[in-house]
């Protein structure tokens, strides 16, 4: 190929390439044009948006302006030459100049002349040091020459509109005035500190100040005199090293380690003086604070209590001696009464037995005298013992339910037996009550009333002695009174008669005898019962003692008197074991048991008792405490441990009445305690109490027992009483019962489900007579108990509902059967 041809080819290719390039570039130009168009549109759109945004911006600016104008702080701008550029409404308001006036003024014209230099140099400082923001307080003077303190935040601004200050001021005049008050208060404070320092200086109180290392930084003259060291010797010394008693280091260090920085401590320690003598001081130590509330030390005030301490120690010693003496006395009394009681027991017992033998009239009189003398001796011993028990706080309140009327009647009868004076009538007035079932300590009331009656008998030779129970106007309060027509008590003696070992006069003691303890004991017992014994008396006319007693009445019992047990129980079926080493007591008890035809075994000591108990089953065991070989506690524990008599009640016999002994007896498994000497009735009472038959009756009475009784028994006698031989009438009534009771039981079930005790009580009250009438007496009794307990709001009633409804429905079934039987007879 020739060069020319080649060149032509190259040129042709280059031309084609150029055309191609032109084409491509044209395409690009069109693309560019299109892009440009799009850009223009976008620009137009943006311009519109900018307009909207700047409108919004303007609105916002308006809002800010309003906000600034309405601001409670004064806001303003001013130039480097202090010329105002802008002021908000608050500024105008505060300074009382108009906006135009202010804009023609400078800040310097407003600042109080005395502060002008300070303010201008402050402004310059901001400018020079290019501070972003700074705070200053200065007073300004308003148009009406009012002085206003302004707290001002100033910012230095350098923006498009130039260089200027922007300030926000707040009226702080009020705070400034408080500050000035405070500073005058500080002056007062300093004066008063000065005053108190003066007082402290003149007081007889040793004062030291300590730094945080507990070194003395100051001591007053009194302290220097107290301790014997000079001011120089004390300065810089540590109290614990120089004069604190070694044994009291722990007190001091416990004070230091406790948070003593916040609290004041008061404690007493011993100090060793320079002359080595020891004094007791009471120290009151408080922290000292600086302005920032940091503890910078403490101040300790010392008060010499050496003399007081000495008296205290003596007092404590005297108290100890007195207490020991009292304890000794009580112990002595307890031991003595015990010693007296043991032979007395024999005398009482034997004279009772003696009167049972065939005696002549003369002998009977002598026995009577022995009885009287030993009774008196017994009551004397009891009085002394009672008093020592009360004094030692050992007399415990034992509450039980009883009929007060019946009980007081017994009291008066026992007195009647003792006093056979025909010229004195013993009366019992209880017109307000036939019965008065209540809950209280029966023994205490007995003791008080008996004592008062004894006194009355003693001091009344003619006329009457009246025991009264009266209803008081206040609820649950009754009055018990003993009034006599005796010798009376002089009004000046009325105050002392309740004191221990005091009697109205020595003459009385001469004629009437006695310990002078009776009334004192009565008063103490009355206190235990939350009452108070009171007295009024006319000399020669008579005396009335009375107490207003708060009581818990048992209303239900007061309506229905139930005979719980027969008057004279047949005890002949019982088998009793008596463990007693004293042969005289053995004989006494044997005789009493024989009288009631009770079978018994006598054991001479605990070991024999134990051996007998392991071979025979007994209903009751009497156990003397003090016996040779094996004492009563050991024997009781052995018997209760295993064998035939695990459940047999054991009654402790002892001449001691100490509560501790009683407690030990209970702890060793004994049930009760019979104190020697006892009379026949006391012994029989215990036997009756633990007679298994009686026991069953009484527990049944206490609680609703629903498992053991045969509730479906029909009492034929009752039915006969109600209906006689009228079979028709009987059948009608039974049918009525069967028709009606289920509805009532349904109501009762509802009441149980709702736990509505009041409703339960009501329904029971309603259905009770129906059950009685058809002869279901046991069910009637159960219903009565539920009624009673529900009435007392005893929620335990609710627990056995299933069993109770079984029993009640069972009753209906019984009557249904009865109806069928009656029909069949037809």
């Amino acid at each position: 190929m020739s060069e020319l041809e080649l060149l032509q080819k190259k040129l042709k290719r280059a031309l084609s390439a150029r055309k191609m390039a032109e084409h491509i570039l044209e395409q690009k130009a069109i693309e560019l044009f299109n892009s440009n168009q799009l850009l223009k549109e976008a620009n137009a759109k943006l311009t519109g948006e900018v307009a909207i945004k700047s409108n919004q911006l303007q609105e916002r600016e308006q809002r800010y302006k309003k906000f600034i104008d309405g601001a409670t702080d004064s806001i303003y701008n001013f130039t480097e030459e202090l010329q105002f550029l802008y002021v908000n409404n608050r500024t105008v308001e505060l300074l009382e100049y108009s906006e135009e006036e202010l804009l023609a003024m400078t800040v310097a014209e407003l600042v109080h002349p005395n502060y002008l230099e300070m303010a201008t140099s402050f402004f310059t400082d901001i400018l020079e040091k290019q501070k972003k923001s700074a705070y200053i307080e200065f007073p300004v003077v308003s148009k009406s020459k009012r002085l206003i303190w302004a707290g001002t935040n100033i910012t230095y601004v350098d923006d498009t509109s130039g260089v200027y200050y922007s300030a926000i001021s707040r009226d702080i005049s009020e705070r400034k005035s408080i500050e000035s008050d405070l500073s005058s208060a500080r002056v007062h404070l300093e004066r008063s500190e000065h005053k108190y320092r003066g007082i402290l200086k003149n007081l007889q109180l040793g004062l030291i100040e300590l730094d945080t290392d507990r070194r003395i930084t100051y001591s007053n003259l009194i302290f220097q005199k107290m301790i014997g060291y000079s001011e120089d010797e004390l300065l810089g010394a540590v109290p614990a090293e120089l004069f604190l008693h070694k044994d009291d280091y722990p007190i001091e260090s416990s004070i230091v380690s406790s948070d003593s920085s916040v609290s004041t401590n008061v404690y007493d320690v011993r100090l060793i003086l320079k002359d080595q003598s020891i004094i007791h001081v009471l120290i009151s130590k408080s922290p000292i604070y600086n302005i920032r509330n940091d503890v910078i030390g403490s101040i300790a005030i010392h008060y010499d209590i050496t003399e007081r301490k000495r008296l205290e120690t003596e007092l404590v010693r005297a108290k100890e001696i007195a207490e020991n003496a009292q304890k000794e006395q009580q112990k002595f009394l307890a031991v003595m009464t015990h010693e007296i009681r043991t032979p007395l027991n024999s005398i009482v017992g034997m004279s009772h037995l003696l009167s049972d033998t065939k005696v002549t009239e003369e002998q009977e009189e002598y026995i009577g005298l022995i009885n009287n003398a030993s009774d008196m001796l017994q009551s004397l011993v009891s009085d002394i013992l009672d008093l020592s028990k009360i004094q030692s706080g050992k007399q415990e309140l034992v509450e039980e339910d009883f009929d007060l009327v019946k009980h007081l009647r017994n009291c008066i009868s026992s007195i009647k037996i003792r006093s056979s004076d025909p010229d004195v009538v013993l009366l019992f007035e209880h017109t307000d009550y036939d019965k008065l079932w209540m809950r209280s300590d029966k023994k205490m009331i007995h003791q008080i009333v008996t004592n008062l009656l004894h006194n009355a008998v003693k001091f009344t030779k003619k006329g009457s002695i009246t025991l009264k129970i009266k209803r008081l106007d206040r609820p649950n309060m009754i009055q018990i009174a003993v009034a006599d027509t005796g010798i009376g008590i002089a009004s000046d003696k009325l105050k002392i008669i309740f004191k221990e070992y005091e009697q109205a006069n020595d003459y009385i003691h001469g004629i009437y005898g006695g310990t002078g303890l009776g009334l004192s004991i009565c008063q103490k017992l009355a206190t235990k019962l939350n009452s108070r014994l009171e007295v009024y008396s006319t000399l020669g006319k008579g005396t009335t003692f009375f107490m207003n007693l708060p009581i818990q009445m048992i209303l239900d019992r007061n309506k229905i008197e139930k005979k719980i047990k027969p008057d004279d129980q047949d005890l002949s079926h019982l088998s009793i074991l008596v463990a007693e080493d004293n042969s005289m007591n053995q004989k006494y008890i044997s005789r009493l048991l024989e009288k009631k035809n009770i079978k018994f075994h006598i054991a001479d000591n605990g070991a024999i008792a134990y051996s007998l108990a392991s071979h025979h089953k007994f209903d009751l065991i009497f156990m003397d405490i003090h016996m040779p070989q094996m004492n009563g506690y050991e024997a009781s524990m052995a018997i209760k441990k295993e064998g035939l008599n695990i459940n047999t009640p054991i009654i402790a016999l002892s001449a001691s009445t100490l509560i501790a002994q009683k407690e030990e007896a209970i702890a060793s498994g004994m049930q009760d305690f019979l104190s020697k000497p006892f009379n026949p009735n006391q012994l029989y009472a215990v036997i009756e109490k633990y007679n298994p038959a009686a026991l069953k009756l009484s527990t049944d009475d206490e609680k609703i027992s629903i498992s053991e009784k045969n509730y479906q028994d029909l009492d034929r006698d009752t039915i006969r009483q109600f209906f006689g031989d009228d079979r028709e009438y009987k059948m009608d009534m039974f049918q009525l019962f069967v028709d009606q009771i289920p509805t009532d039981l349904h109501d009762l079930e509802e009441a149980y489900r709702a736990g509505n005790l009041q409703l339960i009580s009501q329904v029971c009250h309603k259905i009770k007579p129906s059950f009685q009438m058809v002869g279901l007496l046991k069910i009637a009794e159960l219903v009565r108990k539920i009624e009673h307990e529900a009435g007392l709001e005893d929620t335990s009633v609710l627990h056995d509902d299933h069993k109770i409804f079984d029993i009640l429905n069972g009753g209906i079934d019984v009557i249904k059967d009865e109806i069928i039987t009656l029909h069949n007879i037809d």
């Binding site: 190929m1 080649l6 190259k10 290719r13 084609s16 390439a17 191609m20 390039a21 491509i24 690009k28």
Partner: protein, 178 residues
């Protein structure tokens, strides 16, 4: 492939061997574009392959060697046309390691349809730089030519060790050691 690569390639052949060889290889290949290229256009990659293979046959020089030579030639073109890229870096290592993250990114802004190889830096220390070349076009010797001229431009001396990570040459490791 950008038209500039074709126009530069043909200019190189013309400069070194005369326009006759250029015409021959165009004629050899029966190209769709008929061998008419403009720098502002874009043409199929396959035409470049055809042209190089034709040149190799005509000149008896292996294709990799031709690509290597072209790489060295094109560096100067890049340098004169786009001096800005070279001013960004002070030294060869910085420049090489900026290819993937900077230069290729900028190129794509100018030519959104450009197809560029991966050129990842996997190790950069004071005395050595490891780069991985990855492209279906398997033009690693072209890249080698560019790298060599790069070192010369920054007046630095270093050995370039080439390791094939894929046997077909689509993935290659360059170890540049000073």
């Amino acid at each position: 492939m950008k038209g500039m690569v074709f126009t530069e390639f043909l200019e190189m052949v013309e400069g070194q061997h005369g326009y006759e060889l250029v015409d021959q290889i165009i004629e050899d290949c029966e190209l769709e574009s008929e061998g008419i290229y403009t720098a502002v256009g874009t043409y199929p990659h396959s035409e470049m392959v055809q042209l190089i293979v034709a040149l190799s046959q005509r000149s008896n020089i292996p294709v990799p060697d031709l690509l290597h030579t072209f790489g060295r030639y094109l560096f100067d073109t890049f340098l004169s046309k786009y001096p800005g890229f070279f001013k960004e870096a002070d030294n060869a290592f910085d420049f090489f390691s900026s290819i993937q993250e900077y230069i290729h990114v900028e190129v794509l802004k100018l030519y959104p349809d450009a197809q560029l190889p991966e050129f990842r830096t996997i190790l950069k220390e004071e005395r050595q730089l490891h780069l991985v070349y990855e492209s279906d076009r398997k033009m690693s010797t072209f890249a080698l030519g560019l790298l060599e001229k790069g070192l010369e431009y920054y007046q630095e001396e270093a050995d370039i060790i080439v390791e094939n990570l894929e046997s077909d040459g689509s993935k290659v490791l360059f170890k540049i050691m000073k």
